[in-house]
Each structure stands twice: as structure tokens, then as C-alpha cells.
């Protein structure tokens, strides 16, 4: 097997670890003070699956994602990523609604943040450049974040998340602040990267059509519980406006709006 430096996946494989990480939640509850946000979530996500979590605002979907990403600990129950339930996991990467780039670091250094700090600077730069190429931002390594558009910033954030070859990518409404066309482009990019790399992906979104366009499986969260678990068995790449997709979207929306 030849190891292509520009395809980090190959390097990862050569170390013999499978890419996607399984996620297992058992009886997970989370309260903030008296307010119970999650009231018992049981969930098993297969390695490499693309899962979308939808729900009204305040239904606890972001909280759930933060628990999976290890940013918060559950009040009760167990969250295990790849069999480990001890909180933050280096193989998990998180993308936020805002790009959250360090404005005082150039693009390549921002991407380099995603790598373990032990690596040498030259090595980090090389990986950062490769990750930037992957998200279509080759040649922008030395730009300051302030000169990038919103979509480009989110691409840099995606490169930062991907550069360490995560086994689980958690996305918290990553496209919520983008305009409609940039959104579709980013959805296609995320889908393409996911297909190439094979990591487990969990995206939180309030946009049901986005969930249907991206996910293998859609979880609807309502009042702190999983109210609906829908398999989306449509071929990829998915065309927008597909009647099968529209039917699934309609079903989920009906449940969301209690119709």
C-alpha cells in the first residue's frame, strides 16, 4: 500500500484503526438547575453513520451534541464514544455555528489548531495545507480570517475539524448563519468529505430539509427525549426536490408542528 501524504486517511488506515467511532448513550439525563433538558436518551449510533438531530429550539439537541463531544458531562447515564465514557476524546471534533477562528492567526495556523500540539510546525503546516485543499481553499493559507467571507470561514473551520482525521465529527448548526446557496455548497462538501473519510457524523440542525439531504438517519428530539427515529434510505448524491425526500421531510415536519 502506498501512503499518500496528501490523503491523511491512508496514513490513518496504515495504523490499523477503523475510522468511524461508534456512539452509545444509555439513560442520559441532563439538567441545568431545576430545568431538565434531557430526560432519558438511549441511543446507539453505528460507526460511519451520518445522523441528523432535529427539533424545535430549546429541545436539547445542542446539549445532546455537547455531551457526545465531551464538552459537558451528563447528570445521569452514560455517554460512550468508541467505548470510552471518560469525557473529552481526541478523536472527536466539533464544528460550531460560528467559525470561531482565531482572528490573530493566519488561516493555516488556524487549521493547525486541530492537530495535536506535539507535532512540529512544518508538519502542522503541511497537514493544514492538505486539509485546506480538501475544502477548496488551496492558496489561502496566509490569509487573515478577517478577509474571508462567511462561507470561507466555515470552510476553514471544517478544515480545522478534519485535519486531525477525526473518527467522529459533531456539527452544531454549522450552516445556520450562511446564505442559501453557500449552505447547499457546504452541505455537498460535508457529504463528499464524509463519504471519502468514513467518519461518524452527527449534525444538529433546525432545518429538516438539510437533515434529509445529508443524513442516513434522523432523530427528532422533543421534550428531552427521542420522539422519532427515521431512516433515510435514499441514494446519494441526493437531488434537492426529490419527491421521496419531500415525503420524509413532510412526515418529520408534521410531527414537529404537532399536526
Amino acid at each position: 500500500m502506498t501512503i499518500d501524504v496528501l490523503s491523511p486517511l491512508a496514513v490513518e488506515h496504515s495504523h490499523g484503526s477503523s475510522v468511524g467511532a461508534p456512539v452509545l448513550l444509555r439513560g442520559v439525563r441532563k439538567s441545568f438547575g431545576d430545568h431538565q433538558v434531557l430526560r432519558g436518551v438511549d441511543l446507539a449510533i453505528d460507526p460511519g453513520q451520518f445522523v441528523a438531530i432535529v427539533g424545535r429550539s430549546g429541545c436539547g439537541k445542542s446539549t445532546l451534541l455537547r455531551l457526545i463531544a465531551g464538552l459537558d458531562a451528563p447528570s445521569e447515564g452514560r455517554v460512550a464514544v468508541d467505548g470510552r465514557a471518560d469525557g473529552w476524546h481526541d478523536a472527536v471534533r466539533l464544528m460550531f455555528q460560528e467559525a470561531r477562528l482565531l482572528p490573530w492567526q493566519r488561516v493555516a495556523r488556524n487549521v493547525g489548531i486541530g492537530l495535536a500540539h506535539a507535532r512540529g510546525r512544518g508538519d502542522r503546516h503541511r497537514h493544514a495545507v492538505a486539509a485546506l485543499r480538501q475544502v477548496g481553499l488551496a492558496g489561502r493559507e496566509n490569509a487573515w480570517p478577517s478577509v474571508l467571507s462567511g462561507g470561507q470561514k466555515q470552510r476553514v473551520a471544517l478544515a480545522r475539524a478534519l485535519v486531525s482525521h477525526p473518527r467522529l465529527l459533531a456539527l452544531d448548526e454549522p450552516l445556520g448563519a450562511l446564505d442559501a446557496l453557500t449552505r447547499i455548497e457546504m452541505q455537498d462538501l460535508i457529504e463528499a468529505v464524509w463519504q471519502e473519510k468514513g467518519f461518524t457524523a452527527i449534525v444538529v440542525t433546525h432545518d429538516v430539509s438539510e437533515a434529509v439531504a445529508l443524513a442516513d438517519r434522523i432523530l427528532l428530539l422533543d421534550e428531552g427525549r427521542v420522539a422519532m427515529d427515521v431512516a433515510v434510505d435514499l441514494p446519494r448524491p441526493r437531488r434537492r426536490g426529490d419527491p421521496m425526500a419531500a415525503a420524509i421531510e413532510g412526515r418529520i415536519l408534521d410531527r414537529l408542528l404537532h399536526r
Partner: protein, 252 residues
């Protein structure tokens, strides 16, 4: 081209009028000597070596006081910005002390230190401390929480968070404190040297006053102005280099 020349037209005109007024006796030499006389005095002082010695002494006092006061202010500002325990313990005390105008302490400082170097350095340090302290603390406080969360989510250690997120995030505010502190530094030194000193630019001015050497007094004032301007320009330059990422500070 006109943009480079135009700002200098008014100062040049004032200088000319000043020279003319002095030349034709409209302005008494005892009130305001002509620019040419002031320039002559500056040249004389420079040749005798007096000017450089006094500038050197004053600059040393200013920098020593700035380093001490600024250093302590920066350290405490960082500490109180990062640790709420430290802030609870010390901030209200510091804010109380801040309300005492440091120049009001001059009689006390003279009683403590006499008119030696310590007195001047102490006053400068005290004056510089607060702007640096307040702005450093504010800078650390206003670092974007979202960036801190991102750093933690990406596995940064506390040391790395400080170096890559907190410090650069606080830097614009720290620079505000720095420039403000530099202004206070010269101001404090002028007052301290004028009231009690046996060397330095302020002493040079007060000594000249005793002998009615108005030209030397004016030279001293201009030297203070030049030193203040120099310090501010250096701070601005440093700001532009350190904050190149920030479109507000980027060179147009």
C-alpha cells in the same frame, strides 16, 4: 503630495508669525523668546552636554518607573482577569487606591524618599500602574468566550489557551493601556521633576527660571513634548506590528 504638505502649513505660519512678532518687539523676550533664540539655546545646551545628560536622566526615570508600574499592573491585570478569587480579594482595594490622585501623594513621597531617584520612580510607577492594570484586566475579561470554548474543545492545555487565545485577545486593550500609561508617565515625571529634583529636564527648566532664562525653559518644554511624541509613535508602531491581523489597525 498636497496631503503631505497641507497639515504643515498652519504650524509653519505660526512659527513665522512668532518669529516676526519677536523680531519687531511685539513679543517681549522675557515673555516668549523668538524661535531662533530658542533654537540657539537648544544648540548651546546640546554643545555643553547638559541637554543630553538631563534627557538621559529623565528618560531613565521614566522607563524605570514605567517598567515597575507597568509590569506590576500587567501581572495583576492578568491575574485578576483570569482568577475571580484574586479579583475578589484585590480589585476593590485597588479601585479605592485608584481614586487617590497619585500627584497628591507628592508631599508624602518627598517625606518618604526625599528628592532622590526613588521618589520620581515611585510616582511614575504609581501613575502608570492603573491604566495598564485596568486595561489588561478588561482585555482578559473581554476575550471571546466562544474562542475559549473552541480551544478547549480542540484539546488546548491551559498554557496553550493563554498563549494562543487569551493573550492575543487581550492585546488590543493592553495597547490602549500602554499608550495611556505612556502619557501618564511623562506627565508624572514633569510634575515630579519640576517640584523636587536636582537633575533632569524639569530641574533644568526650574533652574533656568531662577535665572530668567526663558529660552531654556521653552527648550525644556519642547523636549518634553518631543519625548512624549516619540514614546507614542513607538507604541503605535508596535501596535501596528502586533495587531496586523486586526483590520482596524492594518496599514491602509
Amino acid at each position: 503630495m498636497s496631503g503631505r504638505v497641507l497639515p504643515w502649513v498652519v504650524p509653519a505660519l505660526i512659527l513665522l508669525l512668532w518669529q516676526a512678532a519677536a523680531q519687531f518687539g511685539l513679543l517681549s523676550n522675557q515673555v516668549m523668546p523668538a524661535p531662533s533664540v530658542v533654537a540657539e539655546a537648544a544648540w548651546r545646551l546640546l554643545r555643553s552636554g547638559k541637554l543630553l545628560v538631563n534627557v538621559e536622566i529623565s528618560t531613565w526615570r521614566a522607563l524605570a518607573g514605567f517598567a515597575i508600574g507597568g509590569g506590576i499592573g500587567f501581572a495583576l491585570g492578568m491575574l485578576n482577569g483570569l482568577s475571580s478569587l484574586s479579583e475578589t480579594l484585590t480589585d476593590s482595594t485597588l479601585q479605592m487606591v485608584r481614586n487617590v490622585p497619585h500627584l497628591a501623594l507628592i508631599p508624602l513621597v518627598i517625606l518618604w524618599f526625599g528628592i532622590d531617584e526613588e521618589a520620581k520612580v515611585f510616582l511614575v510607577a504609581l501613575g502608570v500602574f492603573f491604566p495598564i492594570y485596568v486595561n489588561t484586566q478588561h482585555g482578559v475579561r473581554s476575550v471571546d468566550r466562544q474562542l475559549l470554548e473552541m480551544g478547549r474543545a480542540y484539546g488546548m492545555s491551559e498554557a496553550a489557551l493563554f498563549r494562543y487565545v487569551v493573550l492575543p485577545g487581550a492585546l488590543p486593550s493592553i495597547f490602549v493601556g500602554l499608550r495611556y500609561g505612556l502619557g501618564i508617565m511623562w506627565l508624572t515625571l514633569i510634575v515630579a521633576e519640576t517640584i523636587s529634583a536636582s537633575s533632569g529636564i524639569g530641574y533644568m527648566a526650574m533652574n533656568a527660571r531662577e535665572f530668567m532664562q526663558v529660552d531654556v525653559v521653552v527648550v525644556s518644554i519642547l523636549i518634553y513634548a518631543a519625548l512624549g511624541k516619540l514614546a507614542d509613535s513607538l507604541a503605535r508602531l508596535l501596535e501596528r506590528v502586533c495587531l496586523a491581523w486586526n483590520p482596524v489597525y492594518a496599514r491602509a
